[in-house]
Amino acid sequence: MEEKISFCKGGGCTAKLGAGILSRVLERLPKGPQDPNLLIGYDSKDDAAVYKVSDDIAIVQTLDFFPPMVDEPYTFGKIAATNALSDIYAMGGEVKTALNIVCFPETMDLNILGEIMRGGSEKVIEAGGTLAGGHSINDSDVKYGLSVTGVVHPDRIYPNNGGKPGDKLILTKRLGVGIICTANRVQEASAEAMEAAISSMTTLNKYAAMICRNYDIHACTDVTGFSFLGHLHEMMDGALSCQINAKQVPVFPEALDYADEFLLTAAGQRNRNHVQDYVKFENVPFAMEEVLYDPQTSGGLLVAVDATQAETLEKELQEAGLPAAIVGEIVEKGDVEITVTM
């Protein structure tokens, strides 16, 4: 295939609109009559919408799509799908169906689209779901993603903000893919770093989710465009505080190197602007700060688990081959929402 998809504009979750802008717009939308079956809507800034249809089934609905962050179409398809499917796992659910969302220039080689969608459909199958259709439009740039529907038991939903003081926080994937992809765009990323980042971005959170099901999970989210600190801030939801041990946070070492070279995204800075008032760093080097603000594409799960089970859960995740680690703990609400120490 000769033609490569150009992703000259930052792709992946670096393309998300900043959280600040979004909340201002969302606040003003008309809400309509309250439906008691809507268990989770956008009021709680959660990963997906959850709607109860019976005493033991609730539908989980989510969608994600974005421009490419890699130039290989099949890989892009896999990453985009993995990312979209992740939100179902972040709610504690199971994937059932998915619909393609496609934007594609009419004049581009259709085989490229075929490759993107091949990557996407492979991941839907791996997730145990069925690709049931989709929608495509002509666009000046390529964008791809999925609208996904899953199911969850209404009593076993993982909210974002259900964490309790004393809970330990576990992160299941390494941070830094945003910076690595960005460095790659300007030809400054090593092939090994890119390979590791891609491998991380195409790993379904299904495996982590399945293991978590046997534990007392109080809250869960997936770390994506708003960065580790951004999503952690959502988990605190104005009612909790937390302490993070930066040395324990799994990161790609190359991401730290590239951050020291200032190969940073606009979205990263937007994340910093949005969350920095809630964060206090103690002896954390600049590069590590940037990795914590780095928008992740298809990042890992960030779970709040009962303290007594944390080490066992961490071990089980690691034995499954995931770079999971306990990164901190939730504490009673204090003056500082998120304290990060090195």
């Binding site: 960005t182 460095a183 300007v186 200032f262 940073l264 606009a266 800075q269 002896n283």
Partner: protein, 218 residues
Amino acid sequence: MYGMEEKEMIKVDAMGDTCPIPVVKTKNAIKELNGSGEVMTLVDNEIAVQNLTKMANQKGYGVKSQKLGEGQYEVVMTISADGASAVTELAESTVEEETVCYPDARKKNTVVVLSSSTMGNGDDELGAILMKGFIYALSQQENLPTTILMYNGGAKISCEESPSLEDLKSLESQGVEILTCGTCLNHYGLSDKLKVGEVTNMYVIAEKMTQADLIVKP
């Protein structure tokens, strides 16, 4: 013979570029400077201004930015020959400002600068005793300073084993801002030995000093 020092200025056009391209282009221009000079980068959004400013602050370059018009911003970095920070006049930054609390206008904004762990020249042993005495006397003043800045040798004063920790803590508990230069802590291997106050950088140090009503340097 006196002459105007010619500062080399390289212009970088990063209009329409998404991060990190403005930073990459600027870094390349800085390499071309061969030591010292200025680089002026044009970008079309505030976030790029912030990312460029971040880099300049980390590297210790002087930096100022301004909005030229709708979708047009200019960031000028000053790199000095000795590689240390060239502190330039802080121009109005048009990056979105957060609400700032201004100190009580009736009270002078006094900044104490401690650039060494000893006070005066002659005998260092005496100097250390004098500095300890000075900080104690400071803590007993009726009008306390707003901020105490510590850098280079002064960075040791806020770290483990310093004889002035109690006095600094007392000052801090009465609302005095205690700031120690991060680069200096790293240099002396004291990064994890800071006992009072917070870590700061040259950008903040320059800002505090230029905005002070009175600078006290013992």
